[in-house]
């Protein structure tokens, strides 16, 4: 077994296990921490693809920013066993059915796929370098890129508006 394959198996095992544990654990903070480990292991997958930029952005954005904020709010709320939300039985059954159907579909799709056996075209360009990535993003995909930034800006403005204290009406 090659080293890459071995690393891939270990990483996948970690990813799947922590993703499962994220849902399975009762303690919200534990599940947030499992999610952090999951995110970091996904970063490892990106590194296996030699996508350094993507891997580090994954680390900074998901593990470093979003999950920190998650943990921050969870710690602030300090949830205990008593304030667990009561879930009606119907939702559980519905979740089980949806899960079975979804996995059936996925299994069906994946059993039908064939791995690509062809050779990759070698262009000599270093696609993992940020220079290439930047040129592609700001030339060919300029419009979607800008749309994404406008979306983020709108979201930010919305948050500011929502969180701003309203002045007295009178």
């Amino acid at each position: 077994m090659s080293t890459v394959l071995l690393i891939f198996y270990i990483l996948s095992a970690v990813t799947l296990a922590t993703a499962f544990l994220t849902i399975y654990t009762k303690n919200p903070i534990h599940s947030a921490i499992y999610l952090v480990i999951c995110m970091v292991s996904i970063m490892g997958h990106y590194l296996l693809f030699n996508a350094q930029f993507l891997a580090l952005v994954q680390l900074i954005v998901y593990a470093g920013a979003i999950m920190v904020l998650f943990l921050f709010t969870l710690m602030l709320m300090n949830l205990n066993k008593e304030d667990e939300v009561h879930k009606p039985r119907m939702t559980r059954y519905a979740a089980i059915i949806v899960f079975i159907v979804l996995s059936a579909v996925l299994v069906y799709v994946f059993t039908d796929t064939k791995p690509i056996m062809g050779e990759y075209d070698y262009t000599g360009e270093d696609f993992q370098s940020i220079k290439t990535l930047g040129k592609v993003l700001l030339n060919e995909y300029m419009v979607p890129f800008e749309f994404a930034s406008i979306l983020l800006l709108a979201a930010m403005l919305g948050v500011v508006l929502v969180s701003k204290k309203e002045k007295d009406a009178n």
């Binding site: 903070i29 921490i33 952090v36 970091v40 350094q52 930029f53 580090l56 952005v57 680390l59 900074i60 593990a63 470093g64 920013a65 920190v68 904020l69 943990l71 921050f72 710690m75 602030l76 300090n78 993992q128 370098s129 940020i130």
Partner: protein
């Protein structure tokens, strides 16, 4: 990859690790000495000449202390916290160029563990993960003061990372590269980035203080309000790990400041030394120059600590979100205009 390269890199990494630990160790000594000198005292001077063996004595004391564990349901996380803090503090040094080339045994050795394309992003990523050590440790302590410290640390880190990243962007627009090696090479001689980016440097410096939890931004552990903040419940070497991680972080951030804004291992007259005394002499002097800069910034950290009182929490947030972030965005705009106009 030939085995010689692997051996070379391994030795280099071990040396960097040892130097980082040594610097962190002697930062604790320097902290006490500088604090004493700034307060007209002499500081530790009993263990060894000028108290130079004091860090060893401190370490020995921490090892020998009783390992107290609070009554917490999260024993494992309580252990993990200091470990994460220490690990993230140490792995940042992988991408820092400590010097130029060194010619030894017929090989040219690049004094950098790895020169990846996205060095700065790597540093940011590791630093942003570093906060987990404090958060997890503070939460697992099962103590309200620790939790407050952890929550403060988290919000402070997240807020100041934004301003820090934005202040770096103006620099990156000038350098056109994320690699710390390239950035250092561009600052050859006295062509340091500080002359072009004084505002960016100021923002970066303030954010570095906040990211390393140093006074005036040490709200995560402020003694007068939170006893010890996130490490209230820690004792023995776990506590030592937190303290060590703080000093290692201080060392790394001083290194980053020197590399990004003060030319790293560059010093005036480097070419002259290179041609007259040989490459190795120039490189060794360069390492010396880098360490002189680093030591100055470590001293600056301590100097500021004993000058400026701690911020209040709302002042901290105001400074981060309402002043530093707009300022760094303006800095980016001005830099962009200048690049368009002069290049």
């Amino acid at each position: 990859m030939d085995s010689a390269l692997i051996i070379e890199k391994s030795i280099f990494i071990v040396v960097v690790f040892a130097v980082t630990m040594l610097m962190a160790m002697y930062s604790t000594w320097a902290e006490r000495k500088v604090a004493a000198f700034l307060q007209d005292r002499v500081g530790p001077n009993r263990a060894g000449w000028g108290g130079l063996l004091q860090p060893l004595a401190d370490g020995l004391k921490l090892f020998a202390k009783e390992e107290f564990e609070p009554n917490t349901p999260n024993k494992f996380l309580f252990f993990v916290g200091p470990g994460i803090a220490m690990a993230t503090a140490l792995i940042t040094s992988a991408v820092i160029p400590w010097g130029d080339k060194l010619e030894l045994f017929g090989r040219t050795i690049q004094l950098q563990a790895t020169d990846i394309d996205v060095s700065i992003l790597y540093v940011f990523g590791v630093v942003s993960v570093g906060v987990y050590g404090i958060m997890i440790g503070g939460w697992a302590s099962n103590n309200k003061f620790s939790l407050m410290g952890a929550v403060r640390a988290a919000s402070q880190m997240v807020s100041y990372e934004v301003a820090m990243g934005l202040s770096i962007i103006a620099l990156l627009m000038m350098s056109g590269s994320l690699s710390l090696h390239d950035i250092t090479v561009q600052q050859h001689g006295m062509n340091w980035n500080i002359w072009y980016q004084p505002v960016g440097f100021l923002i970066f410096l303030i954010c570095a203080f906040a990211e390393t939890n140093r006074t005036p931004f040490d709200l995560a552990e402020c003694e007068s309000e939170l006893i010890g903040g996130y490490h209230t419940e820690y004792s023995s070497m776990k506590m030592g790990f937190y303290l060590f991680a703080e000093y290692a972080n201080m060392f790394i951030s001083s290194t980053l400041i020197s590399v990004l804004y003060f030319g790293g291992y560059n010093y005036p007259g480097m070419d002259w030394v290179g041609t007259n005394w040989g490459t190795n002499a120039a490189t060794l002097l360069g390492i010396g120059a880098l360490f002189a800069k680093i030591c100055f910034f470590i001293f600056f950290y301590m100097w500021v600590r004993w000058t400026i009182p701690r911020f209040r929490y709302d002042q901290l947030m105001n400074l981060g979100w309402k002043i530093l972030i707009p300022l760094s965005i303006i800095n980016i705009m001005i830099t962009g205009v200048c690049i368009l106009a002069f290049k």
